[in-house]
Symmetry: C2
Amino acid sequence: MHYDINEYKNPLFTVDSVLFTVKEGALKVLMVRRAKAPCEGCWGLPGGFVDIENDMTTDVTARRKLKEKTSVEPRYLEQLQAFSGSDRDPRGFSVTLVYFALVTEQDVSSHIASVEDVQWIDVKVLPSLDIAFDHKTIIEHAQKRLQQKALYSMIPVYCLPSQFTIGQLKSVIETILEKPIQRKSLIRRIEASDMFEGAEQKVKSGGRLAQLYSVKEGADLVNFERNFSV
Amino acid sequence: MHYDINEYKNPLFTVDSVLFTVKEGALKVLMVRRAKAPCEGCWGLPGGFVDIENDMTTDVTARRKLKEKTSVEPRYLEQLQAFSGSDRDPRGFSVTLVYFALVTEQDVSSHIASVEDVQWIDVKVLPSLDIAFDHKTIIEHAQKRLQQKALYSMIPVYCLPSQFTIGQLKSVIETILEKPIQRKSLIRRIEASDMFEGAEQKVKSGGRLAQLYSVKEGADLVNFERNFSV
DNA sequence: CGAATAGTGTCTTTAAGACACTATTCG
DNA sequence: CGAATAGTGTCTTAAAGACACTATTCG
């Protein structure tokens, strides 16, 4: 049976990523300054088109684009959601599949022509910047998802180096949630989750030496049955 | 600046919906029997291509396709996730954006040529059926999402008529979760959520008359801070 | 020693689970 | 009345919050 692929015009389809980290006590999102139209000169999310010959899935596209445009390989990556419409891109009806990612604080750089600059941008200064398309809204959605997940999972560990102290984890969680949590509650979760193991050595921290922890080999992110209270 | 839309071949992009209801004490999913290739004769999820001239967003596409193919207008609709790959559709690399929907138990019918038949199919019999593409996997993901949300929200009400009793709601939740819950816990949630209002009349139910409830005008789905236990 | 941070002990609070009890309807 | 289902009262339990207490390090 004949199938006419041109029966409908396909929408413009792209993959973008919202990559967060916590740095200097603030939640930062990775943005690139666009060197090409549309939105030349604006800040935008790193992303681009699927390479249908080589990308197995859109997950691969998201990772590939992050690496190409910013040299970052995320520690955590999941689909956020698709954003679509005819008014979000001047080129016509478009769909962007957005990924939500986390990484250890690190330096970033760009090596390709379509990107002028790459920066970690504090989510608090976003309102005052010139942001491409609907990327501002998208980042807000991603931030909400991160906050929600931080209430019932250990997802914030992916913003830390592979070894970290409870004090660092507490501080990252508090930055994400924008409110304090109980150290004791965090310790109880660390024990209950069985996701972590303590290292041999301890580390200086201004007072008593702190135990270092790392995520156990192959441990999955566990979800708790209750949220931290809001 | 020139932008070359053909720099990359766009993937094939479709929108599909997993529409559930609870009927005769079982979770059912709405499937259509495909009258056209690919997968002619198989059961598949209702969906299709975006009409980029007329659909404002992919949400509209999902609703439109459901209505065209099955005559159903869902009470609840949200994005599930996109599924992508070069091996899921014989026509090449494809992306399907999948929606997850709920509706009151109702009759369904088809009025278009590309659909031979429309049926509510018990999720328990899916393994033994011939299902198009990766739709079996997709339905499993959607079912997990439904089960997860039923643990911390009142989402199962959208499988009931606009007026319902606590007994009916309890039974729908138990069907979705595949385990019993405490009636008392459910009543506490109904009161705490402030999503519902009692109707004037009560209704027969084999014993004492039962209070009818309905979702308050404009009430949003509330999320509880704890799950029902597993 | 005192300041600072790490880590423990334990009481309170919240919301779910368990389950017995009362209430209402119908045959 | 008895069976069936609706709805309440209340004790127990699980896990978070609050917060005081001890432990260790450094200057």
